[in-house]
Every structure is written in C-alpha cells, then in structure tokens.
Symmetry: C2
Subunit: 293 residues, 2 copies
C-alpha cells in the first residue's frame, strides 16, 4: 500500500453504487471523511444509514475532496464533469461509475485542474437507492478501469484509487474507453436487448397467456433482464449506439446460422461451444472469488 | 378426492423427474406400491434412497401397475410405448413426462388396451439423476396435460391421476398436444436456443476473453441455459422442428424491428412491453405458489 494521500472522498449520487462504494471503503479501512452530494431526501437517508459522514453541495465537495466519485446516471455524469474544473482541488482524482465510457472519458479528458479516470464496477442488483447499498456489492466482481492512456494509471492518485478498488474486494481490469464500450455492448447490452426482445415478443403472441402459464425456470432466467428500468437503459443506449448496433448485427448473423442448422443439420457443435463459453464465464467468476448467485 | 383405484404405480426411468414423482406421491399420501424400471445401477441407488419399493423389468411393471409413468428421454418414451400394448393391464393409464408431446401422444393413441394421457411437468434443475430427486420438485410448477380429446380427462383413471398431480403441489394446465408443442417452442425451446446462440457467438469473438472478464450478473443469467445437456436437447429439437423453426423466425422478426428502432428511434415502448410480460410471468408464478428462485 502506498503512503495514503486520500483523506476526503466525495460521492456525487448516493444511490446503490455510490452508497455501496462509501460503505465498502469504510469496511476496507478508509478512515477519512466521506461527503455525499445528492438530493436532500437521499442525503437524509444516507446520513441515517451512516453511509456518508456529511451531505454537502457539489461546490463544497469539490473544494474538499481528493477523490470525486461520480455515481449518478450517465447523463448527469456528462453534465457534471464540465462544471468540475472550476471547483476541484489541483491534483484531485475524478472517477465515475457510468455504464458506458467513450463519451464520459472524452468529457473527463477536458478537465485541466484534475485527473479523470473512468471506471465501471460490474455489480448491481435488482433494487436501487441508498437503502439497498451494501459494503459487499463489489466483492469478487470485475471493476473495469478505462484510462485514455496507459500512463494515466501511474499517477499517485490513480495508484491509490486502484489499490482501494482491490481492497473493497473488486477485481480491476484495464480497457481503453472505446474497447470497454465494445466489450460491454456484447457482455451486457446485447443480453439486455435479447431479454427485452424475447419478453416483448412473447407478450405480443396470441398464445402469450399459455406461454406464461407454461413458464419454467428457463424462461424466468431469460426474462430477468427485461425487468430492468428504462431510465437507466435510455442513457446506455444513447451513449453506445454504434457498438450496440454492431453487437445486434453479430447476433442476427449467429441466429441465422443457427436457424439454418436447425432446419438442415444438427446443433450439437453449437451447444458444445455455448456450453464451453458459459462454463468459462463461471470459472472466471469463481477465480475472482465471486460467491453470489 | 374420488375413491382411490390407484394401487400400484410403475416409474419407467427413475431419474430426476421419475424419482421426484415417486417421492412426491409418497409425501402426498400415496400408500400403494411404487415399482421402478431402470438400469440395475439406478435401481440400486433408488432402492437405497427409498425412492421406489421394488425394481422390476418393464414386463412385470406393466402386468402389475394401474399407472405407468414414462420418465425417460423422449426417444426412449417413443420406443417404449409400442411395446406396452401387449403387456398392460386393461384399464391402466399410461402417462409420460416428455418435453415434446405431438409425436408421443400420436404413439400413445395407438395403444388399445390402456389409455394414454401425455404430461409435461415444468420442473427441473441443473442436476440430474435419482440422487437429485426431491418430493418438492413439482410444487407450484405448471404440470401440462395434453389430452388428444377433451374427454380423455373424464375417465376414472385420468380423473384420479390429475387429482394426484394437484396433491403433489403442481398446477395442472390443459393443452392439446400440438398446441403444447407450439407453446413450449416459445416458452422453453426459444430461450434455450437464444442462450446457446449468445454464448456460442460470444465464445467465437476475438474479444471473448475480455467479454468473460467483464461479465456481470446479467450475462450469467443469460448463459445459464447454455449449460444444458445436449443429449436431452437433441431429442427435443428432433421432435419439435417445425414449431421451433416458426419460433426462431418470429424472434428474427422481433430482433430486426428492435434493431431498426435502435438505429432510428427510441426503445422505450419495447422495454415497457418486455417488462410487462416479465412481470406477468412472475405474478403467475407467485399465484401458483411457486416460491423457488
């Protein structure tokens, strides 16, 4: 562990992710101050639940914090970054937890008084809000870090932040912002759209009620993502259109191939390949120490 | 409860489903004999685990049973049915637990000495074999019954069987065999193929390792079905090709629409429809009293 320079952290957006990051830092031994920037109602709840030490305005948060953690929705992160430059302490580190990275990291690169390092913790759950925050949320989960240049990770502030990411039990992975957006288009946005396509398509069928009546555990798994909130996905789809369209086209090609094999051949090799990838995912997860469902 | 005529049940194929049906019957108060027809190794395990009372050959099972429950793989059910006619007690009921119903019910209709009533319990889990059998497997789960004619449900043997299906906690649903196969093509076979297509497609990507490293809970849900065993799916795909191809084409159309909207519009309405269907499924499940994951 490097000498600790991190004394004050400001969390902008004290919801599930921001609140969990605050709790995780504390549990991992962080002894400095944790400031929260959120609506008055959220701040009151966060203080009550001892998630943050103090609720302050963005201006005050920036004037005091060594680390500013932007955990709101993507559009709010994009609106907030340009306002920070006049407010930040020189040498501060700004990071975020937004689900897409190219546009956010472009905005971050325009900061002159502080360093920006994009992040994306691959954690979440069905419930939202500070009430659902938990110190263990990041445990065993990948934490994607998206420096625009590899040397962005070498500054003292970045080195210390990455060390805290490890200390909260997450597994840091480095990807360039554009590479990140292509990877999550496949790993996250494509599965979301498949679930939405399946569930919305089945709902339109005349026999939709019979389909629901006959649902087994597989259909429940396949439609879990379809429950996701639109307000989060609107921002994701808006800020990663190109990579998502490419992922959708890739799936359309795979589906066409599978249909041909279903009509004229045997799907054994496709099942084998699918199973191999699904097993590889699970091995990776268990290597990370992720013991959740 | 009608006067009980059911004294002896024979389970052909004492695996997860057959074994669980035996345990569930017993737990629901069935006091008659439960015979098992399986490989010597499985019979030994089933006796040890007190899943069945006695292991016998198919011939003896048929000469003694009032209810013959075919719980093997689809191809074995299809091979077994024609052999039963010479062996069954007059008035016996033959049922099965195969995942597709048109071909099986056609074969069943050719029995002359006994009645056939197709069935399909919508239950299962990742583990297979009699060691994984449990009395609660069917609790709160749909149990699809597929009479070729509605009056097939009115015979005393059928009335009593349906009563036992209820007693083991399952929720009987009536569908004609062809209707069943169309419904499960959408509710079960389509989700399976989507999961296999997704996982096999991602595995082929150059960035497949990054995708795996970045996997969150959504990708784990979406690839769970891709772990399914090919030997079970080979039979399902072989015996429901037409309905599966229709379901695949339906999905391809939905995907194309979604892609167009992604490129030129807003997906809010698709998300709303998907969520509504996913919520409806869950409401249905909780109405059934299913409290599993």
């Amino acid at each position: 562990m490097p000498e600790t320079a991190l004394e004050t952290v400001a969390i902008a957006g004290v919801g599930l992710i921001g609140g969990s990051f605050a709790l995780a830092l504390r549990q991992a031994g962080f002894r400095g101050a944790i400031l929260g920037v959120s609506s008055p109602r959220t701040i009151a709840r966060a203080l009550e639940l001892r998630v943050i030490d103090e609720g302050v305005a963005l201006e005050e948060a920036c004037s005091r914090a060594d680390l500013v953690y932007l955990a709101g929705p993507i559009h709010s992160i994009l609106e907030t970054i340009p306002r920070l430059d006049a407010l930040l302490r020189p040498g501060a580190l700004v990071t975020d937890a937004g689900s897409t990275k190219s546009l956010i990291c472009q905005a971050g690169a325009r900061l002159s008084r502080a360093q920006f390092l994009g992040g994306h913790p691959m954690a979440g759950k069905e419930l939202r809000g500070v009430e659902s925050a938990e110190a263990g949320l990041f445990h065993g989960r990948p934490y994607l870090l998206t420096p625009r240049r590899p040397e962005d990770l070498d500054t003292p502030a970045a080195v210390e932040f990455v060390e805290w990411v490890r200390r909260i039990g997450a597994v840091p992975k480095i990807l360039a912002p554009e590479q990140h957006d292509q990877v999550v288009a496949l790993s996250s946005h494509l599965p979301q759209l498949l679930s939405t396509a399946l569930a919305s398509g089945l709902g339109r069928q005349d026999c939709g009620a019979d389909v629901a009546a006959a649902a087994g555990p597989g259909l429940l798994d396949s439609t879990r993502l379809a429950l996701s909130a639109w307000d989060i996905w609107r921002d994701i789809l808006d800020t990663n259109q190109e990579a998502i369209l490419a992922a959708m086209d890739l799936f359309a090609d795979r589906w066409k191939e599978l249909r041909e094999t279903m009509a004229h051949g045997v799907l054994e090799e496709d099942f084998r390949q699918g199973r191999a990838f699904a097993e590889m995912l699970r091995a990776q997860r268990s290597n990370n120490g992720d013991t959740s469902r």
